[in-house]
Protein backbone atom coordinates (compact mmCIF):
# COMPACT_ATOMS: atom_id res chain seq x y z
CA UNK A 1 0.00 0.00 0.00
CA UNK A 2 1.23 3.46 -0.83
CA UNK A 3 0.09 6.55 0.99
CA UNK A 4 -1.24 8.27 -2.06
CA UNK A 5 -4.95 7.50 -2.44
CA UNK A 6 -6.16 5.77 -5.59
CA UNK A 7 -9.41 7.70 -5.42
CA UNK A 8 -9.86 10.94 -3.55
CA UNK A 9 -13.31 12.46 -3.16
CA UNK A 10 -13.20 15.91 -1.63
CA UNK A 11 -16.20 17.78 -0.20
CA UNK A 12 -18.78 16.82 -2.81
CA UNK A 13 -22.43 17.83 -2.85
CA UNK A 14 -24.68 15.77 -5.14
CA UNK A 15 -28.29 16.46 -6.07
CA UNK A 16 -31.10 14.40 -7.55
CA UNK A 17 -32.93 17.24 -9.25
CA UNK A 18 -33.56 19.62 -6.36
CA UNK A 19 -33.09 17.01 -3.63
CA UNK A 20 -29.63 17.08 -2.09
CA UNK A 21 -28.47 13.48 -1.57
CA UNK A 22 -24.84 14.04 -0.50
CA UNK A 23 -23.56 16.82 1.73
CA UNK A 24 -19.88 17.72 1.79
CA UNK A 25 -18.76 14.10 1.49
CA UNK A 26 -15.05 13.26 1.47
CA UNK A 27 -13.77 9.72 0.95
CA UNK A 28 -10.31 8.34 0.20
CA UNK A 29 -9.50 4.89 -1.08
CA UNK A 30 -5.95 3.59 -0.85
CA UNK A 31 -4.66 1.30 -3.58
CA UNK A 32 -5.09 -2.35 -2.70
CA UNK A 33 -7.47 -1.98 0.22
CA UNK A 34 -11.02 -3.13 0.67
CA UNK A 35 -13.19 -0.27 1.79
CA UNK A 36 -16.79 -0.53 2.95
CA UNK A 37 -19.55 2.04 2.86
CA UNK A 38 -22.14 1.39 5.51
CA UNK A 39 -25.45 3.10 5.95
CA UNK A 40 -29.20 2.68 6.03
CA UNK A 41 -31.38 3.00 2.94
CA UNK A 42 -31.37 6.53 1.50
CA UNK A 43 -28.16 7.35 3.36
CA UNK A 44 -26.59 8.14 -0.02
CA UNK A 45 -24.43 5.06 -0.62
CA UNK A 46 -25.72 4.31 -4.11
CA UNK A 47 -25.65 8.00 -4.97
CA UNK A 48 -21.98 8.10 -4.04
CA UNK A 49 -21.17 5.07 -6.22
CA UNK A 50 -23.17 6.50 -9.14
CA UNK A 51 -21.30 9.79 -8.79
CA UNK A 52 -17.93 8.01 -8.91
CA UNK A 53 -19.17 6.11 -11.98
CA UNK A 54 -20.14 9.35 -13.74
CA UNK A 55 -23.88 8.70 -13.87
CA UNK A 56 -24.25 11.72 -11.58
CA UNK A 57 -21.97 14.74 -11.27
CA UNK A 58 -21.19 16.70 -8.12
CA UNK A 59 -22.48 20.26 -7.81
CA UNK A 60 -19.46 21.07 -5.68
CA UNK A 61 -16.17 19.37 -4.79
CA UNK A 62 -13.74 17.19 -6.70
CA UNK A 63 -13.21 13.53 -7.52
CA UNK A 64 -9.67 12.51 -8.40
CA UNK A 65 -8.66 9.08 -9.66
CA UNK A 66 -4.90 8.47 -9.87
CA UNK A 67 -4.50 12.22 -9.59
CA UNK A 68 -6.83 12.99 -12.51
CA UNK A 69 -10.08 14.95 -12.06
CA UNK A 70 -12.90 12.67 -13.18
CA UNK A 71 -15.93 14.47 -11.76
CA UNK A 72 -17.29 15.49 -15.16
CA UNK A 73 -16.40 12.47 -17.28
CA UNK A 74 -19.08 10.26 -18.84
CA UNK A 75 -19.61 6.76 -17.46
CA UNK A 76 -17.87 5.05 -20.39
CA UNK A 77 -14.76 7.23 -19.88
CA UNK A 78 -14.67 6.32 -16.19
CA UNK A 79 -14.79 2.63 -17.11
CA UNK A 80 -11.89 3.17 -19.52
CA UNK A 81 -9.82 4.69 -16.72
CA UNK A 82 -10.30 1.52 -14.67
CA UNK A 83 -13.31 2.03 -12.41
CA UNK A 84 -16.12 -0.45 -12.81
CA UNK A 85 -19.38 -0.73 -10.90
CA UNK A 86 -21.34 -3.87 -10.05
CA UNK A 87 -24.73 -2.23 -9.58
CA UNK A 88 -27.37 -2.86 -6.97
CA UNK A 89 -29.86 -5.49 -8.08
CA UNK A 90 -27.15 -7.00 -10.33
CA UNK A 91 -28.72 -5.60 -13.52
CA UNK A 92 -27.41 -8.33 -15.76
CA UNK A 93 -28.70 -8.27 -19.34
CA UNK A 94 -31.60 -10.70 -18.88
CA UNK A 95 -32.11 -11.93 -22.43
CA UNK A 96 -28.46 -12.39 -23.35
CA UNK A 97 -26.35 -15.47 -22.69
CA UNK A 98 -23.97 -15.64 -19.73
CA UNK A 99 -21.00 -15.44 -22.10
CA UNK A 100 -22.41 -12.41 -23.95
CA UNK A 101 -23.01 -10.67 -20.62
CA UNK A 102 -19.35 -11.23 -19.77
CA UNK A 103 -18.15 -10.08 -23.18
CA UNK A 104 -20.14 -6.86 -22.86
CA UNK A 105 -18.09 -6.20 -19.73
CA UNK A 106 -14.99 -5.94 -21.91
CA UNK A 107 -16.60 -3.58 -24.43
CA UNK A 108 -14.28 -0.65 -23.82
CA UNK A 109 -11.10 -0.45 -25.86
CA UNK A 110 -8.27 -1.52 -23.58
CA UNK A 111 -10.24 -4.31 -21.86
CA UNK A 112 -11.28 -5.80 -25.19
CA UNK A 113 -7.74 -6.76 -26.09
CA UNK A 114 -7.41 -8.66 -22.80
CA UNK A 115 -10.78 -10.33 -22.96
CA UNK A 116 -9.64 -13.96 -23.25
CA UNK A 117 -7.24 -13.66 -20.27
CA UNK A 118 -9.90 -11.93 -18.18
CA UNK A 119 -12.53 -14.48 -19.17
CA UNK A 120 -10.17 -17.21 -17.97
CA UNK A 121 -9.78 -15.44 -14.61
CA UNK A 122 -13.53 -14.94 -14.21
CA UNK A 123 -14.07 -18.66 -14.83
CA UNK A 124 -11.43 -19.41 -12.17
CA UNK A 125 -13.30 -17.28 -9.63
CA UNK A 126 -16.70 -18.62 -10.66
CA UNK A 127 -16.46 -22.03 -12.34
CA UNK A 128 -20.24 -22.20 -12.46
CA UNK A 129 -20.32 -19.36 -14.97
CA UNK A 130 -18.21 -21.43 -17.33
CA UNK A 131 -20.58 -24.39 -16.98
CA UNK A 132 -23.53 -22.12 -17.72
CA UNK A 133 -21.95 -19.83 -20.29
CA UNK A 134 -24.53 -20.63 -22.97
CA UNK A 135 -27.51 -20.26 -20.66
CA UNK A 136 -29.77 -17.18 -20.92
CA UNK A 137 -28.83 -14.94 -17.99
CA UNK A 138 -32.29 -14.51 -16.53
CA UNK A 139 -32.56 -18.28 -15.94
CA UNK A 140 -29.67 -18.22 -13.43
CA UNK A 141 -30.30 -18.34 -9.68
CA UNK A 142 -29.91 -15.13 -7.67
CA UNK A 143 -26.45 -16.10 -6.44
CA UNK A 144 -25.31 -17.05 -9.93
CA UNK A 145 -26.64 -13.75 -11.28
CA UNK A 146 -24.56 -11.92 -8.68
CA UNK A 147 -21.51 -13.96 -9.73
CA UNK A 148 -22.25 -12.98 -13.31
CA UNK A 149 -22.55 -9.31 -12.35
CA UNK A 150 -19.18 -9.42 -10.57
CA UNK A 151 -17.62 -11.41 -13.42
CA UNK A 152 -18.94 -8.92 -15.95
CA UNK A 153 -17.37 -6.13 -13.91
CA UNK A 154 -14.02 -7.95 -13.84
CA UNK A 155 -14.11 -8.23 -17.64
CA UNK A 156 -13.61 -4.45 -17.76
CA UNK A 157 -10.13 -5.06 -16.32
CA UNK A 158 -10.65 -2.64 -13.42
CA UNK A 159 -8.22 -1.12 -10.95
CA UNK A 160 -11.10 -0.15 -8.67
CA UNK A 161 -14.30 -2.11 -8.36
CA UNK A 162 -17.44 -0.60 -6.81
CA UNK A 163 -19.84 -3.28 -5.58
CA UNK A 164 -23.33 -2.23 -4.47
CA UNK A 165 -25.37 -4.43 -2.09
CA UNK A 166 -23.80 -7.68 -3.20
CA UNK A 167 -25.41 -9.89 -0.56
CA UNK A 168 -28.93 -8.47 -0.73
CA UNK A 169 -31.50 -11.25 -0.83
CA UNK A 170 -28.98 -14.10 -1.00
CA UNK A 171 -28.58 -17.14 1.24
CA UNK A 172 -25.70 -17.02 3.79
CA UNK A 173 -23.87 -19.89 2.08
CA UNK A 174 -23.91 -18.00 -1.22
CA UNK A 175 -22.76 -14.82 0.51
CA UNK A 176 -19.77 -16.73 1.94
CA UNK A 177 -18.89 -17.91 -1.54
CA UNK A 178 -19.08 -14.37 -2.91
CA UNK A 179 -16.91 -12.91 -0.16
CA UNK A 180 -14.37 -15.66 -0.77
CA UNK A 181 -14.26 -14.59 -4.41
CA UNK A 182 -13.80 -10.97 -3.34
CA UNK A 183 -10.74 -12.00 -1.33
CA UNK A 184 -9.23 -13.64 -4.41
CA UNK A 185 -10.05 -10.56 -6.45
CA UNK A 186 -8.34 -8.39 -3.86
CA UNK A 187 -5.27 -10.63 -4.00
CA UNK A 188 -5.04 -9.86 -7.70
CA UNK A 189 -4.42 -6.25 -6.70
CA UNK A 190 -7.87 -4.89 -7.46
CA UNK A 191 -9.07 -2.27 -4.97
CA UNK A 192 -12.61 -2.82 -3.79
CA UNK A 193 -15.19 -0.37 -2.51
CA UNK A 194 -18.33 -2.13 -1.42
CA UNK A 195 -21.65 -1.07 -0.04
CA UNK A 196 -23.50 -3.25 2.44
CA UNK A 197 -26.26 -3.12 4.98
CA UNK A 198 -24.96 -6.20 6.80
CA UNK A 199 -22.70 -4.36 9.26
CA UNK A 200 -21.25 -7.32 11.13
CA UNK A 201 -20.17 -9.02 7.93
CA UNK A 202 -18.90 -5.81 6.43
CA UNK A 203 -16.64 -4.91 9.31
CA UNK A 204 -15.22 -8.42 9.20
CA UNK A 205 -14.37 -8.24 5.50
CA UNK A 206 -13.25 -4.65 5.06
CA UNK A 207 -9.94 -3.00 5.94
CA UNK A 208 -11.66 0.30 6.59
CA UNK A 209 -15.18 1.63 6.50
CA UNK A 210 -17.10 4.88 6.15
CA UNK A 211 -20.50 5.22 7.74
CA UNK A 212 -22.97 7.44 5.92
CA UNK A 213 -26.00 8.99 7.57
CA UNK A 214 -28.52 10.98 5.55
CA UNK A 215 -25.97 11.96 2.96
CA UNK A 216 -23.12 12.85 5.29
CA UNK A 217 -20.06 10.92 6.46
CA UNK A 218 -20.83 10.19 10.11
CA UNK A 219 -17.77 8.12 10.97
CA UNK A 220 -14.81 6.50 9.34
CA UNK A 221 -11.90 4.33 10.36
CA UNK A 222 -10.55 0.82 10.43
CA UNK A 223 -12.92 -1.99 11.32
CA UNK A 224 -11.41 -2.28 14.81
CA UNK A 225 -11.64 1.44 15.43
CA UNK A 226 -15.26 1.49 14.39
CA UNK A 227 -16.07 -1.48 16.57
CA UNK A 228 -14.91 0.44 19.58
CA UNK A 229 -17.28 3.26 18.76
CA UNK A 230 -20.42 3.11 20.82
CA UNK A 231 -22.23 4.93 18.07
CA UNK A 232 -21.79 2.05 15.69
CA UNK A 233 -23.37 -0.33 18.11
CA UNK A 234 -26.21 2.02 18.81
CA UNK A 235 -26.86 3.00 15.26
CA UNK A 236 -26.96 -0.55 14.06
CA UNK A 237 -29.61 -2.55 15.84
CA UNK A 238 -28.32 -1.67 19.28
CA UNK A 239 -26.61 -5.03 19.41
CA UNK A 240 -23.05 -6.24 19.51
CA UNK A 241 -22.12 -6.13 15.84
CA UNK A 242 -18.42 -6.58 15.95
CA UNK A 243 -18.19 -9.98 17.60
CA UNK A 244 -15.70 -10.88 20.23
Amino acid sequence: MSDKPLLRITNIDVFHGTFQALWDVSVEIIRGETLALIGANTSGKTTLLDTISGLLHPAKGTIEFEGKDIAWLDPYQIVELGITQVPEGRRIFPDMSVLDNLLIGSYNGSARSKKSQNLEKVYQHFPRLQERRKQIAKTLSGGEQQMLAIGRGLMADPKLMLIDEMSLGLAPIVIDELFKALEQIKERGITILFVEQNVRRTLKEADRAYILETGRVALSGTATELCEEDRVKKAYFGVEVCGV
Binding site: P75, Y76, T84, R91, I92, F93, M96, I104, Y107, N108
Partner: protein, 287 residues
Protein backbone atom coordinates in the same frame (compact mmCIF):
# COMPACT_ATOMS: atom_id res chain seq x y z
CA UNK B 1 -56.60 -13.73 -59.66
CA UNK B 2 -58.32 -16.77 -60.97
CA UNK B 3 -61.63 -17.45 -59.34
CA UNK B 4 -61.51 -20.16 -56.73
CA UNK B 5 -57.73 -20.15 -56.72
CA UNK B 6 -56.48 -19.44 -53.24
CA UNK B 7 -52.82 -20.21 -54.00
CA UNK B 8 -52.23 -17.03 -55.96
CA UNK B 9 -53.30 -14.58 -53.21
CA UNK B 10 -51.47 -16.69 -50.65
CA UNK B 11 -48.16 -16.52 -52.54
CA UNK B 12 -48.71 -12.83 -53.30
CA UNK B 13 -49.37 -12.22 -49.59
CA UNK B 14 -46.18 -13.97 -48.51
CA UNK B 15 -44.06 -12.06 -51.05
CA UNK B 16 -45.72 -8.74 -50.22
CA UNK B 17 -45.14 -9.53 -46.54
CA UNK B 18 -41.41 -9.58 -47.24
CA UNK B 19 -41.66 -5.96 -48.41
CA UNK B 20 -43.72 -5.00 -45.36
CA UNK B 21 -41.11 -6.61 -43.12
CA UNK B 22 -38.35 -4.74 -44.94
CA UNK B 23 -40.18 -1.46 -44.33
CA UNK B 24 -40.85 -2.29 -40.66
CA UNK B 25 -37.39 -3.57 -39.63
CA UNK B 26 -35.94 -0.10 -39.05
CA UNK B 27 -38.98 1.03 -37.06
CA UNK B 28 -38.72 -2.11 -34.95
CA UNK B 29 -35.01 -1.64 -34.32
CA UNK B 30 -35.27 2.02 -33.27
CA UNK B 31 -38.13 1.18 -30.94
CA UNK B 32 -36.39 -1.87 -29.51
CA UNK B 33 -33.21 0.04 -28.71
CA UNK B 34 -34.37 3.55 -27.82
CA UNK B 35 -38.06 3.02 -26.96
CA UNK B 36 -38.69 5.69 -29.58
CA UNK B 37 -41.69 5.47 -31.87
CA UNK B 38 -40.16 7.00 -34.96
CA UNK B 39 -43.10 8.72 -36.64
CA UNK B 40 -40.78 9.80 -39.45
CA UNK B 41 -39.89 6.23 -40.42
CA UNK B 42 -42.34 6.03 -43.32
CA UNK B 43 -41.08 9.32 -44.72
CA UNK B 44 -37.47 8.22 -44.35
CA UNK B 45 -38.34 5.09 -46.35
CA UNK B 46 -39.92 7.30 -49.03
CA UNK B 47 -36.79 9.46 -48.91
CA UNK B 48 -34.98 6.26 -49.86
CA UNK B 49 -37.41 5.84 -52.77
CA UNK B 50 -36.76 9.39 -53.98
CA UNK B 51 -33.04 8.82 -53.54
CA UNK B 52 -33.30 5.86 -55.89
CA UNK B 53 -35.40 7.94 -58.27
CA UNK B 54 -32.86 10.76 -58.29
CA UNK B 55 -29.94 8.44 -58.97
CA UNK B 56 -31.92 6.71 -61.70
CA UNK B 57 -33.06 9.85 -63.51
CA UNK B 58 -29.92 11.96 -62.99
CA UNK B 59 -27.16 9.35 -63.28
CA UNK B 60 -29.01 6.55 -65.03
CA UNK B 61 -28.21 4.14 -62.21
CA UNK B 62 -30.29 1.04 -61.62
CA UNK B 63 -32.07 1.69 -58.28
CA UNK B 64 -30.54 -1.40 -56.66
CA UNK B 65 -27.05 -0.36 -57.81
CA UNK B 66 -27.83 3.17 -56.60
CA UNK B 67 -27.99 1.81 -53.05
CA UNK B 68 -24.19 1.86 -53.05
CA UNK B 69 -24.49 5.66 -52.94
CA UNK B 70 -27.72 6.11 -50.97
CA UNK B 71 -26.89 3.68 -48.13
CA UNK B 72 -23.86 5.64 -46.85
CA UNK B 73 -25.80 8.91 -47.16
CA UNK B 74 -28.79 7.55 -45.24
CA UNK B 75 -26.41 6.08 -42.64
CA UNK B 76 -24.87 9.51 -42.04
CA UNK B 77 -28.28 11.17 -42.01
CA UNK B 78 -29.52 8.68 -39.42
CA UNK B 79 -26.48 9.20 -37.20
CA UNK B 80 -26.90 12.97 -37.45
CA UNK B 81 -30.64 12.86 -36.68
CA UNK B 82 -29.95 10.81 -33.55
CA UNK B 83 -26.96 12.84 -32.43
CA UNK B 84 -28.21 16.37 -33.06
CA UNK B 85 -32.00 16.04 -32.74
CA UNK B 86 -33.19 12.92 -30.92
CA UNK B 87 -30.29 12.62 -28.47
CA UNK B 88 -30.83 16.15 -27.24
CA UNK B 89 -34.59 15.72 -27.14
CA UNK B 90 -34.21 12.63 -24.93
CA UNK B 91 -32.63 14.90 -22.32
CA UNK B 92 -35.71 17.14 -22.26
CA UNK B 93 -38.57 14.68 -21.85
CA UNK B 94 -39.76 11.37 -23.20
CA UNK B 95 -42.36 13.10 -25.41
CA UNK B 96 -39.88 15.48 -27.03
CA UNK B 97 -38.33 12.90 -29.42
CA UNK B 98 -41.82 11.93 -30.58
CA UNK B 99 -42.55 15.53 -31.51
CA UNK B 100 -39.17 15.87 -33.21
CA UNK B 101 -39.93 12.73 -35.23
CA UNK B 102 -43.26 14.23 -36.25
CA UNK B 103 -41.44 17.41 -37.26
CA UNK B 104 -38.94 15.46 -39.38
CA UNK B 105 -41.88 13.72 -41.02
CA UNK B 106 -43.50 17.05 -42.00
CA UNK B 107 -40.22 18.53 -43.23
CA UNK B 108 -39.51 15.51 -45.43
CA UNK B 109 -43.00 15.47 -46.91
CA UNK B 110 -42.87 19.14 -47.79
CA UNK B 111 -39.31 19.01 -49.06
CA UNK B 112 -40.26 16.13 -51.35
CA UNK B 113 -43.31 18.10 -52.58
CA UNK B 114 -41.06 21.00 -53.52
CA UNK B 115 -38.31 18.88 -55.07
CA UNK B 116 -40.40 16.29 -56.89
CA UNK B 117 -43.92 17.84 -57.09
CA UNK B 118 -46.92 15.92 -55.69
CA UNK B 119 -47.03 13.75 -58.82
CA UNK B 120 -46.75 10.03 -58.37
CA UNK B 121 -43.36 8.50 -59.27
CA UNK B 122 -42.13 4.95 -59.72
CA UNK B 123 -38.79 3.20 -60.05
CA UNK B 124 -39.30 1.63 -63.48
CA UNK B 125 -36.51 -0.65 -64.61
CA UNK B 126 -36.00 -3.07 -67.48
CA UNK B 127 -37.13 -5.92 -65.22
CA UNK B 128 -40.08 -4.09 -63.62
CA UNK B 129 -42.68 -5.82 -65.72
CA UNK B 130 -41.12 -9.28 -65.82
CA UNK B 131 -42.83 -12.13 -64.09
CA UNK B 132 -41.94 -15.56 -62.87
CA UNK B 133 -44.15 -18.59 -62.70
CA UNK B 134 -44.90 -21.28 -60.18
CA UNK B 135 -46.70 -23.98 -62.14
CA UNK B 136 -49.25 -22.18 -64.29
CA UNK B 137 -49.46 -19.14 -62.05
CA UNK B 138 -47.61 -15.95 -62.88
CA UNK B 139 -46.23 -13.55 -60.27
CA UNK B 140 -44.46 -10.19 -60.65
CA UNK B 141 -40.67 -10.53 -60.40
CA UNK B 142 -40.45 -7.41 -58.23
CA UNK B 143 -42.47 -9.16 -55.51
CA UNK B 144 -39.91 -11.94 -55.43
CA UNK B 145 -37.10 -9.35 -55.23
CA UNK B 146 -38.93 -7.64 -52.33
CA UNK B 147 -39.22 -10.89 -50.45
CA UNK B 148 -35.57 -11.80 -51.05
CA UNK B 149 -34.41 -8.36 -49.91
CA UNK B 150 -36.60 -8.66 -46.81
CA UNK B 151 -35.04 -11.98 -45.84
CA UNK B 152 -31.49 -10.79 -46.52
CA UNK B 153 -31.86 -7.57 -44.51
CA UNK B 154 -33.58 -9.38 -41.63
CA UNK B 155 -30.86 -12.06 -41.45
CA UNK B 156 -28.10 -9.46 -41.78
CA UNK B 157 -29.52 -7.32 -38.95
CA UNK B 158 -30.00 -10.40 -36.80
CA UNK B 159 -26.45 -11.61 -37.40
CA UNK B 160 -25.14 -8.11 -36.71
CA UNK B 161 -26.98 -7.88 -33.38
CA UNK B 162 -25.98 -11.38 -32.26
CA UNK B 163 -22.40 -11.69 -33.47
CA UNK B 164 -20.70 -8.29 -33.47
CA UNK B 165 -19.48 -6.36 -30.47
CA UNK B 166 -21.40 -3.27 -31.53
CA UNK B 167 -24.53 -5.38 -32.06
CA UNK B 168 -24.19 -6.91 -28.59
CA UNK B 169 -23.72 -3.41 -27.15
CA UNK B 170 -26.89 -2.23 -28.91
CA UNK B 171 -28.77 -5.23 -27.52
CA UNK B 172 -27.35 -4.62 -24.03
CA UNK B 173 -28.30 -0.94 -24.11
CA UNK B 174 -31.83 -1.90 -25.16
CA UNK B 175 -32.18 -4.30 -22.22
CA UNK B 176 -30.73 -2.05 -19.50
CA UNK B 177 -29.36 1.38 -20.33
CA UNK B 178 -27.82 2.11 -16.93
CA UNK B 179 -26.07 -1.26 -16.76
CA UNK B 180 -24.78 -0.74 -20.32
CA UNK B 181 -23.30 2.64 -19.32
CA UNK B 182 -21.65 1.06 -16.31
CA UNK B 183 -20.09 -1.54 -18.62
CA UNK B 184 -18.30 1.19 -20.54
CA UNK B 185 -20.73 1.47 -23.42
CA UNK B 186 -21.08 4.99 -24.77
CA UNK B 187 -24.85 4.79 -25.08
CA UNK B 188 -25.14 8.05 -27.02
CA UNK B 189 -22.86 6.73 -29.73
CA UNK B 190 -24.51 3.31 -29.70
CA UNK B 191 -27.92 4.98 -30.19
CA UNK B 192 -26.47 6.91 -33.09
CA UNK B 193 -25.32 3.69 -34.74
CA UNK B 194 -28.66 2.00 -34.07
CA UNK B 195 -30.54 4.84 -35.77
CA UNK B 196 -28.04 4.92 -38.62
CA UNK B 197 -28.38 1.18 -39.20
CA UNK B 198 -32.17 1.50 -39.15
CA UNK B 199 -31.73 4.10 -41.90
CA UNK B 200 -29.75 1.62 -44.00
CA UNK B 201 -32.76 -0.67 -43.89
CA UNK B 202 -35.01 2.31 -44.73
CA UNK B 203 -32.88 3.11 -47.79
CA UNK B 204 -33.17 -0.47 -49.02
CA UNK B 205 -36.89 -0.63 -48.21
CA UNK B 206 -37.47 2.63 -50.08
CA UNK B 207 -35.92 1.29 -53.28
CA UNK B 208 -37.85 -1.98 -53.29
CA UNK B 209 -41.05 -0.17 -52.37
CA UNK B 210 -40.51 2.21 -55.28
CA UNK B 211 -40.01 -0.70 -57.68
CA UNK B 212 -43.27 -2.29 -56.48
CA UNK B 213 -45.68 0.60 -55.94
CA UNK B 214 -45.88 4.17 -57.23
CA UNK B 215 -45.13 6.71 -54.51
CA UNK B 216 -45.85 10.37 -53.74
CA UNK B 217 -44.38 12.73 -51.11
CA UNK B 218 -47.11 11.70 -48.66
CA UNK B 219 -46.92 7.92 -49.20
CA UNK B 220 -44.78 7.60 -46.08
CA UNK B 221 -47.83 7.94 -43.85
CA UNK B 222 -49.61 4.88 -45.23
CA UNK B 223 -46.44 2.79 -45.14
CA UNK B 224 -45.79 3.91 -41.55
CA UNK B 225 -49.23 2.55 -40.73
CA UNK B 226 -48.36 -0.75 -42.39
CA UNK B 227 -45.04 -0.86 -40.54
CA UNK B 228 -46.86 -0.25 -37.26
CA UNK B 229 -49.21 -3.14 -38.01
CA UNK B 230 -46.24 -5.34 -38.83
CA UNK B 231 -44.35 -4.67 -35.62
CA UNK B 232 -47.49 -4.92 -33.50
CA UNK B 233 -48.15 -8.39 -34.89
CA UNK B 234 -44.53 -9.50 -34.77
CA UNK B 235 -43.39 -7.81 -31.59
CA UNK B 236 -41.31 -4.62 -31.37
CA UNK B 237 -37.57 -5.07 -31.27
CA UNK B 238 -37.41 -8.64 -32.57
CA UNK B 239 -36.02 -8.87 -36.11
CA UNK B 240 -37.33 -12.37 -36.79
CA UNK B 241 -40.66 -11.47 -35.20
CA UNK B 242 -40.92 -8.38 -37.38
CA UNK B 243 -40.27 -10.46 -40.47
CA UNK B 244 -42.94 -13.01 -39.59
CA UNK B 245 -45.28 -10.15 -38.66
CA UNK B 246 -44.81 -8.75 -42.16
CA UNK B 247 -45.64 -12.10 -43.75
CA UNK B 248 -48.78 -12.48 -41.62
CA UNK B 249 -49.88 -8.94 -42.49
CA UNK B 250 -49.28 -9.58 -46.20
CA UNK B 251 -51.25 -12.82 -46.18
CA UNK B 252 -54.12 -11.29 -44.19
CA UNK B 253 -54.28 -8.46 -46.70
CA UNK B 254 -54.35 -10.58 -49.85
CA UNK B 255 -56.63 -13.27 -48.43
CA UNK B 256 -58.86 -10.54 -46.99
CA UNK B 257 -59.10 -9.10 -50.49
CA UNK B 258 -59.73 -12.55 -51.92
CA UNK B 259 -62.60 -13.37 -49.58
CA UNK B 260 -64.16 -9.98 -48.94
CA UNK B 261 -63.13 -7.88 -51.94
CA UNK B 262 -60.26 -5.44 -52.45
CA UNK B 263 -62.10 -2.56 -50.76
CA UNK B 264 -62.07 -4.27 -47.38
CA UNK B 265 -58.59 -5.83 -47.43
CA UNK B 266 -56.89 -3.16 -45.28
CA UNK B 267 -59.87 -3.14 -42.94
CA UNK B 268 -59.33 -6.85 -42.31
CA UNK B 269 -55.61 -6.16 -41.71
CA UNK B 270 -56.32 -3.64 -38.99
CA UNK B 271 -58.99 -5.78 -37.38
CA UNK B 272 -56.30 -8.48 -37.04
CA UNK B 273 -53.86 -5.88 -35.64
CA UNK B 274 -56.46 -4.86 -33.04
CA UNK B 275 -57.12 -8.49 -32.14
CA UNK B 276 -53.39 -9.08 -31.60
CA UNK B 277 -53.15 -5.90 -29.51
CA UNK B 278 -56.04 -7.08 -27.35
CA UNK B 279 -54.85 -10.65 -26.89
CA UNK B 280 -51.06 -10.34 -26.98
CA UNK B 281 -50.00 -6.67 -26.76
CA UNK B 282 -46.28 -7.50 -26.82
CA UNK B 283 -46.74 -9.09 -30.26
CA UNK B 284 -46.55 -12.74 -31.23
CA UNK B 285 -42.77 -12.84 -30.81
CA UNK B 286 -42.20 -9.98 -28.38
CA UNK B 287 -40.65 -10.41 -24.97
Amino acid sequence: MGSGDIITPLVMGILLGGLYALIALGLSMVFGVMRLINLAHGDLVILGSYGGYALMTLLGLDPIVGLVISIPLMFLLGFAIQKYLMGRAFGISSEAPLIIAFGISLVLQNANQILWTPLSRALNTSYSNLSFSIGLRQFPLTYLLDFTAGIIVMLALRAFLIHTYLGKAITAASQDKKAAQLMGINTKRVYGYAFAIAMISAAIAGVFLGMTFPFTPTSGVSFLTIAFGTVIIGGLGSMLGTFIGGIILGIVQTLGGYFFGPASQMLIVYVIVLVVLAIRPQGLFGR
